[in-house]
Amino acid sequence: MRYRALSDVRVVDLTHFIAGPYATKLLADMGADVIKVEPVWGEGGRKLRPHRAGVVAERGGLFAFLNLNKIGVTLNLKHDRGRELLAGLLDGADLLIENFAPGTLAALGLAPDELIAKFPKLSVVSISNFGQDGPERDGKLNDLVLFARGGWTFPVGERDREPLTPPGSLAQYVAALYGAIAAMQALAARDLGLGHGQHIDVSILEATVATMIYETVTFQYTGIVRSRAGKRFAVGPFLIVTLKCKDGYAGLHCVTDKQFEGLCDLMGRRELASDPRFNTALNRMLNNDALLEIVEAFFIGRERKWLYREGQRRAIPLVPIPSVAEVLEWEQTRARNYFETIDDPVLGRIRVPGTPLRLTSHRPEASRPAPRLGEHNREIFGQRLGLSETEIETLKRAGTI
């Protein structure tokens, strides 16, 4: 889905893979004019999984999602003419967003500070693994190692096993959000009085650590470093746990006295609420294992749907744990028309998450599919930068576009 709230904002997008493209997607979904500039061989994110069987890899399914609503051109930035054309795009642009390794732009003769000096209205947002400075600026990183280093992994999993990493690339998306917010912050600062753009530095590692406030601050207050508690979030004065039930798993978040009374009622065991082992939050912590055993024995014989309905009826935050297939079919997302069916020119029809931001100032429009490699070269270089048909052909033959 696409709104037109940012239709006056022009973005030159040099990003690749996930963190950068999701940041520029957030802007594009709000209506910004995002020109995605790829190398002539295509950015690495085109190769990301998943792939549709039998489709040659011009793009995978994640690329098709992350690049919705963008305009696509190609440029070889190692060619003088390529950099000249990039400068043409930057002239009048509000934002350049990039997630190359630090120093890459400078090595191409496109140092952010020099670009801002040349185009004073322009801000550059750089998203990188470790930030633009520091002793490990140029170190290697992937999701597994990022989660481990940033503190997400240590408290998850079985006590007697190795810590369990979170799935997928979750933290890349968190960093993307910080990047998109930073882009808006640069525009706000410029337009509210500063008058010129800035170079903003977002570290993916720091974005990862930013979400760990349970750990990093709490441990300083209490001296307690949380370790793994198995299916439980932690052993505390609560029961936050994923429980096996008859047809899968359910998630229970039982914290307050009221929620605990509701849970006892759900289990038909109202006497437990006044049981001296469980009658206060402290006792529920001290006897957490015994409590878990009782709750586990109850859940194993019930179905998720029943637990969800009956739990929520008693105001307990209790949910079925859905598979991604079930998320797609969830009544709630259906009723709210959350998923959007896109007609991708290469991959065909796919249902993808819609924008979570529901602005009431505009009616959302259908998304434009992710661009083919160089799809808008003619439009952008011809119409916007005024190149002739012959010039465009010459650039193509030279491998500049």
Binding site: W152, F154, I200, S203, T211, I224, R226, V319, T360
Partner: protein, 413 residues
């Protein structure tokens, strides 16, 4: 210009917990005047919550999470069950730019603070509502918190050991909360920019679960391409091996490492003196991954974690310790960039808090102002912002519409 907003933007934050308060906190980082409104009966539940600590350690004003998520705000109290309290809140709404709320659907309407009512008071107001599952739809009244939002977004269903017989796990950070907050900040920045053009505020609705689902798009599309629900892969990677977490010497010390190329593997094998033909190339390593993990576990178990990570990094392998909280703060890269900031907060003293993520040179974000005590700024806000006299404020105190001591003590919620 010292900050983006230089006090010229006012945010009224009547939210609780993490997702909503994070929005206000990030606007405080930008130099907005953020007023956090709490009820002395039902103050922000996080004010009395020290997650994972026993209840006797949880008196009000000693909550690490509250003190993090509410930095930089001015704190006032208002009895929202009283007509006088609502009336004063409306006066604050009249002079604010943004209103942040994350009550259950319908609560704002019952308080007479639905968008129609507040926009009638202040048409420039931008209001954001952040319900867990949405403000409409058949399940909009379901109770959701960070962890249950995470489950309904499909994240929990993907979180398990590769050989874990189906058991699923909750993430360590209630990810749905900060992700909801970050989306809220972005949405408000968009709406503020639009208001510059149109002069009009608007209502933004943000269902927290919808903010998190995009993070698992890979799995959602994979299912549509293959017809199969992607399995939980634990610490393993679909293609690369090794890709895992291994115990090293000491108590509960672990390192994470991954090889994405044969070159990286050869360096790793040399560094750990592993010579085994079963692991010669990528497909062989993947096919023999159990044996590979066993061999690595054996080789790494006696090593000091720090030394081992240093040795592996020198060899070009992607590696890091699996950091507990204490080690995250001490991480050399994070320290060198001075990411954490020290704050002296009343009652609890000085601690390090996560700083602002975006480094904005000319209008830097400030994350080093402490969270307010309950009702700490009652006099300041009601006198300076609303122009009340001392007598009026004292009268409000006397009749209990405002106050600075809790009227009800609730534990950990």
């Amino acid at each position: 210009m010292n900050s983006i907003f230089d006090g010229k933007l006012r945010v009224l934050d009547i939210s609780m917990g993490w997702a909503g308060p994070l929005v206000g906190q990030m606007f405080a980082e930008m130099g907005a005047d953020v007023i956090k409104v709490e009820d002395t009966h039902h103050f922000d539940w996080w004010r009395g919550s020290l997650s994972m600590a026993p209840p006797e350690m949880q008196p009000i004003e000693r909550a690490s999470v509250f003190n993090t998520a509410n930095r930089g705000k001015r704190g006032v109290t208002l009895d929202l069950a009283s007509a006088r309290g609502i009336e004063i809140l409306k006066r604050l709404i009249e002079v604010s730019d943004i209103l942040v709320e994350n009550f259950s659907p319908g609560v704002m309407d019952r308080l007479g603070l639905g968008y129609q009512s507040v926009s009638a008071i202040n048409p420039r107001l931008i209001m954001i509502s952040m319900p867990s599952f949405g403000s409409d739809g058949p399940e909009c009244n379901a109770r959701g918190y960070g962890n249950t939002v995470e489950a309904m977004a499909g994240v929990t269903g993907l979180t398990g050991y590769h050989d874990g017989a189906g058991q699923r796990y909750t993430l360590s950070n209630a990810l749905g909360d900060p992700v909801g907050g970050l989306n809220g900040v972005f949405a408000l920045m968009v709406a503020l920019r639009e208001r510059e053009r149109t002069g009009l505020g608007q209502l933004i609705e943000l269902a927290q679960v919808e903010a998190l689902i995009p993070f698992v798009t890979e799995a959602i599309v994979d299912f549509q391409f293959t017809g199969k629900v992607p399995a939980a892969r634990g610490n393993r990677h679909r293609e690369h091996a090794p890709h895992g977490i291994y115990r090293c010497a000491g108590d509960d010390n672990w390192i994470a490492l991954a090889c994405e190329t044969d070159d990286q593997w050869r360096s790793l094998a040399r560094a750990l003196e592993i010579d085994d033909k079963r692991f010669a190339n990528a497909s062989a390593r993947k096919a023999n991954e159990d044996a590979l993990d066993a061999e690595l576990s054996r080789a790494i178990a006696p090593l000091n974690g720090e030394d081992c990570v240093a040795r592996l990094r020198d060899a070009g392998v992607i590696a890091a310790p699996v950091n507990p909280a204490s080690a995250v703060i001490a991480d050399p890269q994070i320290q060198s960039r001075e990411y954490f900031v020290a704050i002296d907060r009343a009652v609890v003293g000085t601690h390090l808090y996560p700083g602002a993520v975006a480094r904005i040179p000319d209008t830097p974000l400030r994350a080093d102002t402490p969270a307010p005590l309950l009702g700490e700024h009652n006099r300041q806000v009601f006198a300076e912002t609303l122009g009340m006299t001392d007598d009026e404020i004292s009268e409000l105190e006397r009749i209990g519409v405002i106050g600075s001591s809790p009227r009800q003590y609730r534990v950990a919620q």
